[in-house]
Symmetry: C2
Subunit: 150 residues, 2 copies
């Protein structure tokens, strides 16, 4: 696959994650959305549900990891790519580390809670990270949420 | 409460966490157990279930956090103490950070996966950590597991 094809594919799947984030927004949840892709198929999609579930662990990524493992029938996600609108936090990065996921693509950075600042070694050493895909849209959704709702 | 009373109490609750870890051991799970205590009452207890649930996120602490929030009807655990037999990993420490838990007491350290090495700032700044409670028992159970089962 050419790098141009890869970019198009990444933008497409990030659009699917953005759609999940918009669903979260409509429900009054911090708008973070995620999809996990395995061999060109979306095997799970989730958005943040911490308010509805009254559970700090109900981040989009955590749910997507659990759903993907159920779907695949195995704990490890070595053939999978996570697309998530916002940089994973320490908790989610730790979970992604355990999952040995192949690749993580995120939209905008989280300078306060993102893993790259406080837990840069959380991920599995083989995991490849791409950031900044559809960054402005991901960021704009978060900014609009915190301006309107909080 | 005198510090002697506190030590006795910590040892008692760690014993309850150890009982959970032993249950995990019997089921072929990595033997880590946890209880969460709120105002002298155990509000949740859990052990590692990553094998049974085929889910890397099913650590004892994660389940205990979710159960405690359900029990209390709120996301935050500011009045709670977690007793866990082994030092939390990065994922669990990140979750504990979000929960704003008051205090964490753990048995033995995890020099490979423990949060204190790779994510020392994962916890909420107000969270107090006590380590080394019934350390030898917690450690012996882990060592026996990896010797016999892996």
């Amino acid at each position: 696959m050419s790098s141009e094809e890869q970019i198009k594919k990444d933008e497409y799947y990030m659009g699917r994650a953005l759609a999940m984030a918009e669903e979260a927004f409509e429900k009054g949840e911090v708008p973070v959305g995620a999809v996990i892709v395995c061999r060109d198929r979306i095997i799970s999609r989730a958005h943040n549900l911490t308010e509805a579930l009254t559970d700090v662990t109900a981040h989009a990524e955590m749910q997507a990891i659990t759903m993907s493992a159920n779907e695949l029938g195995g704990k490890y996600l070595q053939d999978c790519t996570l697309y998530v609108t916002v940089e994973p936090c320490i908790m989610c990065a730790g979970a992604l580390g355990w999952s040995q996921i192949k690749r993580i693509v995120y939209g905008c950075s989280d300078d306060k809670r993102g893993f790259s600042l406080h837990a840069p070694k959380a991920l599995h050493p083989k995991t490849v990270v791409t950031k900044g895909v559809r960054e402005e849209e991901c960021k704009a959704l978060m900014q609009r949420f915190f301006k309107e709702r909080r």
